[in-house]
């Protein structure tokens, strides 16, 4: 599980759904969640929250992709890679945060990923969960 920490900067609500923006260092994460400021006390603009997403949900792109629906695009550096036969675990960093991505080893080879490469980590809005920071 990737866990980051950030501050809620905006909440756009529609009935039970909320589209939330969270500032994590200089990046903005977007999450869609089934909670509202009324249903959850911690869920307020300015509050610090933990941001969660699973390693398998982190897509890797090498060049800035154009016209893509994914809202969360984080420029990262590859610190290390653990290659298995089918899957590879990439250890990425941006600012003081580390995240991991699990992609197929084939994809890793196709993109010709190497330590030190700059890559974009892409995470769909509906893969991001939040919890209060305690």
């Amino acid at each position: 599980m990737n866990i980051l920490s950030g501050n809620i900067t905006s909440i756009q609500g529609s009935e039970s759904l909320s589209l939330v923006k969270i500032a994590v260092e200089s990046n903005t994460f977007t999450a869609i969640i089934i909670d509202t400021p009324e249903s959850e006390a911690y869920f307020k603009i300015g509050n610090t929250v933990k941001v969660y997403f699973k390693e398998t949900e982190v897509i890797i792109a090498k060049n800035e992709p154009l016209n893509i629906s994914i809202q969360n695009k984080i420029l990262c550096k590859i610190d290390s890679m653990k290659q298995g036969e089918i899957l590879s675990e990439l250890h990425l960093s941006f600012g003081e945060f580390n995240i991991k991505s699990l992609i197929t080893t084939n994809a890793c080879k196709t993109l010709n990923l190497k330590n030190g490469d700059a890559v974009l980590a892409l995470i769909k809005t509906n893969e991001v969960s939040l919890s209060p920071n305690d």
Binding site: I33, K54, S88, E89, S131
Partner: protein, 291 residues
């Protein structure tokens, strides 16, 4: 509304232990008391029912005083509006199912409730059978129906399903929920079974060595992380298998085994037997009608 306070010195295997507990329950709530053996769970139920005395206690049920040791008020057992179901069924062996229910009726009770309960618990076809001809699950349904015959203010369930197999347990949970809702009971359950607690209770009291450690909703009490994910299960790890650079963790939740992928770092904290929360977003699972 139930207000409960009790202080009692328990004799346990490890010596004397003071039970000192205070809580309140709203009408219609389904509360579970959870804790290790010897924490005092059953004692709390027995104090409520008037079966166990205390050194100091104050119990008020919907404005009626049941215990007030300062004023030397102890309402007798038979005047307390409680239904009690234990792990053993304690049915009268010489009476039929219907007679067992009728026996529990008091003067002034509406006799129609016996028919209503036989129907609710799906016991009509067994109503003329004696307990010895019933299975464990059927006996427990009779015991549950009998506990509700007087429409008690409080239904006390002391591990009522722990002698049953999983399948029967799930069915009985549905009967308990049905009865709780239909008769707008305030129910207090003692259970060790996490899936059961999550399914049934609105509120959990975590008891340890005679004291309340934590209370709140099941997910508040049992999950470390208050994560926003809406697809959550709790269960116990039954296997961890390494595959390639990842691990496949099998989790038993209720009678289902689910599998979750974990990374090597995550596995450091996990081992077989550990209780876990499995969470995903409501957006991910696919839903299909089954025939």
């Amino acid at each position: 509304m139930i207000k409960f306070y009790a202080h009692k010195t328990l004799q346990t295997a490890d010596g004397k232990l003071p039970l000192d507990v205070s809580f309140s329950v709203e009408k219609g709530q389904f509360i579970t008391i959870y804790g290790n053996s010897g924490a005092g769970k059953t004692t709390i139920l027995r104090i409520l029912a008037g079966l166990t005395d205390t050194e100091k206690s104050l119990i008020e049920v919907e404005g009626e005083c049941w215990n007030n040791t300062d004023k030397k008020i102890i309402l007798p057992i038979q005047k307390r509006s409680v239904g009690f179901v234990f792990q053993d069924y304690a049915l009268f062996p010489n009476l039929t199912v219907r007679e067992n229910l009728e026996f529990a009726l008091q003067k002034g009770n509406d006799k129609n409730i016996v028919n209503e309960l036989l129907e609710l618990m799906e016991l009509q076809s067994l109503q003329n059978s004696k307990p010895q001809h019933l299975s464990g699950g059927q006996k427990q349904r009779v015991a549950l129906a009998r506990a509700i015959v007087r429409k008690p203010k409080i239904l006390l369930l002391d591990e009522p399903l722990s002698a049953l197999d999983d399948e029967m347990r799930f069915k009985l949970q549905d009967y308990i929920l049905k009865a709780h809702q239909q008769y707008q009971l305030t129910t207090i359950l003692v259970s060790h079974h996490l899936p059961e607690i999550f399914k049934l209770s609105t509120h959990v009291i975590l008891l340890d060595k005679g004291k309340i450690l934590k209370e709140g909703t099941p997910s508040f009490v049992f999950s470390e992380e208050k994560i926003s994910s809406k697809f959550k299960l709790t269960g116990e790890i039954i296997a961890i298998e390494k595959s390639d650079v990842i691990y496949i963790v099998s989790v038993l939740s209720g009678s289902n085994i689910i599998k979750v992928i974990a990374t090597e770092d995550e596995i450091m904290e996990l081992k077989v037997g550990v209780k876990v929360l499995v969470a995903s977003k409501a957006f991910n699972p696919m839903i299909q009608k089954i025939s």
